[in-house]
Symmetry: C2
Subunit: 251 residues, 2 copies
Amino acid sequence: MGTADPRALWERVADDLRAEINRGDLKAGDPISPEQELADRHGVSRQTVRQALQQLTNEGLLLSGRGRGRTVRSQTRLHWQLSHFETQERHSAEADAWSNGVADQGRNPHQDVTVEINVPTPKVAERLGLNQDDLVVVRRRVRYVDDQAFQLADSYFPESIARGTLLMQPRDVSVPGGILASIGYPQIKIVDEIEIRMPTKEESSKLGIAAGTPVAEHVRTGYGEDGKPLRVMITIVPGDRHVLVYELEAQ
Amino acid sequence: MGTADPRALWERVADDLRAEINRGDLKAGDPISPEQELADRHGVSRQTVRQALQQLTNEGLLLSGRGRGRTVRSQTRLHWQLSHFETQERHSAEADAWSNGVADQGRNPHQDVTVEINVPTPKVAERLGLNQDDLVVVRRRVRYVDDQAFQLADSYFPESIARGTLLMQPRDVSVPGGILASIGYPQIKIVDEIEIRMPTKEESSKLGIAAGTPVAEHVRTGYGEDGKPLRVMITIVPGDRHVLVYELEAQ
DNA sequence: CAGTGGTCTAGACCACGCT
DNA sequence: GCGTGGTCTAGACCACTGG
């Protein structure tokens, strides 16, 4: 007699709603029926409905909030062009590559910068070829687009290179050709490592990341003319707001 | 006389366990106490503990399974070098760039290939500059490492280019310099777009992706000497198994 | 203030993996 | 068979948002 549907009750509810979203019956921004109503309609308890909604939220399809109800999540992503060196400035000057890229897409960028001197984490020390008792200058940037926090971008420089230079200025400095080049250390090679993972609690709160949103941890190591590492930049990139872009040309 | 801890009960349980993991008291592979035991220890109900464990699972910290108990998740990632063109073969020949990269890291790669002719999805049509009534040849590959499914990599070619060539062979073909070059269409430029998101239900089941694991959708478009697109490759990359790597050299 | 989602409990039964 | 996690219910109260 049973219908022999192997899916759990909550999974059927989730599948129903997911199908409505994929089909376009529910569009970005549309409100979802209240939990109690969904429970009545499917003949299940409210907790079961909540499990279904939880699942869809984890898939990045829904947003929720106390008192506000649930809505279908929208995603428009900003393109982040990563294959241009700082030395290949396409713009007049002034702003850095990131700001220019954002402005090109009709959005309004700005960044907050703080500078500190610290001991390197193992991850940074390894990439800069430093010991634990060496020091690094850390430039921590929070990058905003249209006044929403968009990225955490922390740059690490060996203290021996950064001491007494522009790099110690706790503000948004930029010079044509790149800061490192301007102080005598041009970068000739870059290695990017991209890791995909869920955000830590701290990252979630700093960036206002919704549940069900993964991040990319983008680690860029820059090397100088003598082949030694000059800089490590670690950027935390919320997945729902970005597309990372690389353009590669045959030589 | 409340303790005035603003955190919910489940959040305290989660924070406790997360701290144990970060501190190293619980290492990869270690079992977590059973739900009932955690409930008793913290003086909360089993459902509350389950909510905490659910959260940590979504953060990618735990694995679970019926009857098996829960364990701390480990993560060793394979490096995937993406900045080398097919024309820049470093290896004797035979295998493709991906297989070589995997073998270099002491692992054992293989791939299953199927070929079909189909109408392009809008995403593919846009990048190949095709209309909806044009046809594409699709090479679908499931890539395995040590017999575990690792990536879904689908390549799309305009039917006009692929017809009657090696590209129609439903097996793991590879030639020095790349297949496209061997049939008269060398790629001179590549554009990669990387999107970070949660997997669809289908991707999760095909790749055996655990809850709380994001994916990268890597879209590589290859252009020929006349500047026209030749190929789109869409790869679904489980985040817990990969690090994407790009090396960029100054010109 | 009404309605929403968020938290929490107590208890039940089921499905799976192991020994 | 026993212990584990997975599913599900019914009911309660709280916290926030909006009219």
